[in-house]
Amino acid sequence: MFTIDQISFSYNKRNGDLLHDFSLELKAGNVYGLLGKNGAGKSTLIYLLTGLLTPASGVVLMDGENVRRRLPQTMSDLFLIPEEFELPRLTLKKYVSLNAPFYPRFSMQDMERYLDIFEMGGMMDVKLHSLSMGQKKKVFMAFAFATNTRALIMDEPTNGLDIPSKSQFRKLVTSGMTDDKLMLISTHQVRDISDILDHVVIIDQSRVLLNAGIAEVMNRVAFRPLREGDEPIFVLQSPFGPLGAVPARDGEETKVDLEMLFNAALQNPEAINQLFTTQK
């Protein structure tokens, strides 16, 4: 769906490129987790994907169309949930009636279903400005999912959500996902999304450190207490002894620990690269 082809981008030429010759393919049917340190370029990448920034060189294509042209056809199939947003002083019903016509696949039934997931059903007459920040976020996300755009890009979607809402958000993602859709979630709160991702992209300093499906990660890396003879890529000291990310032995499968995977990719990028490029 998205082809990022050798893009370079900088906010200030003197500070060098934030992204340099950066390439990435994002395919439909996946929930991508975009991870990276502060300043790694996650938000920039999101803005480039949604046509909000212009790369100095290279191109970002969505189904072959340059997103920077911000054509109505492209934008009606692409929804961005930014970290910060504003909602007008209207009722939710009015907001939906004004914005839904721009999205051909918008479904009112889905909207009500997603509001129910967030336990906000029957709130169509509520005034948006009277809602709390977390409630605004839930309402906005329910609308975003109900537009049924094929690409849904989220920047820190769980920020500002309380603990029950975070699990509701996971339910929202799983119930809104279909094979023709792509979801990209950029976040630092990896624990909030670790169960719903099926693909992880880790970026740092213009490089894609890891771009792999969760199944592949499970197949190649094990996250568990260290044993004798292990050659860990990353070690985490815990009260129960050292835990590590280690190359998975034959048939060994553990739950993916995104935090440990992220740290492993940052601290030992060569080992991760070698692990994921060798045939298994």
């Binding site: 909000l52 920034l53 169309e65 934008m75 930014p82 721009f102």
Partner: protein, 282 residues
């Protein structure tokens, strides 16, 4: 891509965008219109009372209300036009504006329609309402010295004297110049609103004056080099007086060019804007 739907301009998308902008900004629009109506009413009532109480009433121009209205209209249109892209001032506003699925031309025209054309039309309607209010309010107060009214709004730009330039502006092309000027002045401020969304009015105003001072300095240098300033000014002045229609036609055409260039450039820069940088030279 579905190529059957026009990606540059589509009427139903345009009306949906217009509706969205008007309804989502209803409070700002309502307050702007109420403020305009209130100020117009106040100006008209005070103007009428001042006229009635003046010692030498016969020396005062009876078309004063229209002049005041035209002056107010000229200022109000540029103030409102400078707010046409105020959404670009915040990152959240830019994100919302650029990701909404209508074309940049549609978004651009919608803002122009609301903040320039829409406001000018609303202004004329509010002028009538304010004048009726003046008439009604003074009648209720038992006041008898009414100025002629209600004002015919076509007279706001039209048959009234402008002092020195009256004979020039009361020609056919002079009136055309005034009408075109109503669009030309705010169009520069629309451009300013795209270029400098923050403090747009002040920055555009300062920019225009910087250009005018620059032109004045260049003219002064030119005349100093030529050495016969008086002859040149006299020749030009004489030509204008002898060719009033032609000179006003030229002035009107300059206004048309200014309008077209301002709107065109504003749209081009609007299309190039991004979510982070407000730099217009990028």
């Amino acid at each position: 891509m579905n190529t059957t739907v026009n990606q540059t301009f589509n009427w139903s998308r345009f009306t949906a965008t217009l509706r969205k902008e008007v309804v989502e900004n209803w409070r700002a629009i309502l307050f702007t219109l109420l403020g305009t109506y209130g100020l117009l009413t106040m100006l008209m009532i005070l103007g009428n009372i001042a006229f009635y109480n003046a010692n030498e009433r016969e020396l005062i121009d009876t078309m004063l209300p229209q002049k005041v209205v035209y002056a107010f209209l000229s200022i109000a249109t540029i103030v409102v036009a400078s707010l046409s892209f105020k959404k670009l001032t915040s990152k959240t506003g830019r994100t919302e504006m650029f990701t909404s699925p209508s074309s940049s031309l549609e978004k651009f025209i919608v803002n122009g329609v609301i903040y320039v054309l829409g406001y000018i039309i609303a202004f004329f309607i509010l002028t009538q309402l304010a004048d009726l209010t003046r008439f009604g309010a003074l009648k209720v107060l038992g006041f008898h010295g009414f100025l002629p009214g209600p004002i015919n709004f076509t007279n706001v730009v039209g048959d009234f004297t402008f002092g020195i330039g009256s004979e020039v502006l009361n020609t056919t092309w002079g009136k055309a110049y005034l009408w075109i000027g109503l669009l030309a002045s705010p169009s520069v401020y629309v451009l300013g609103s795209v270029v400098w969304p923050r403090l747009s009015l002040l920055k555009t105003f300062a920019f225009i004056y910087a250009i005018e001072i620059g032109i004045f300095i260049l003219a002064a240098i030119f005349f100093t080099i030529c050495g016969n300033t008086e002859t040149i000014l006299k020749t030009v002045g004489l030509w204008v007086m002898n060719h009033i229609d032609q000179s006003m036609l030229i002035a009107a055409m300059v206004m048309v060019v200014q309008t077209v260039v301002s709107w065109g450039l504003a749209w081009y820069l609007f299309k190039r804007k991004d979510v982070i940088s407000l730099k217009w030279w990028k």
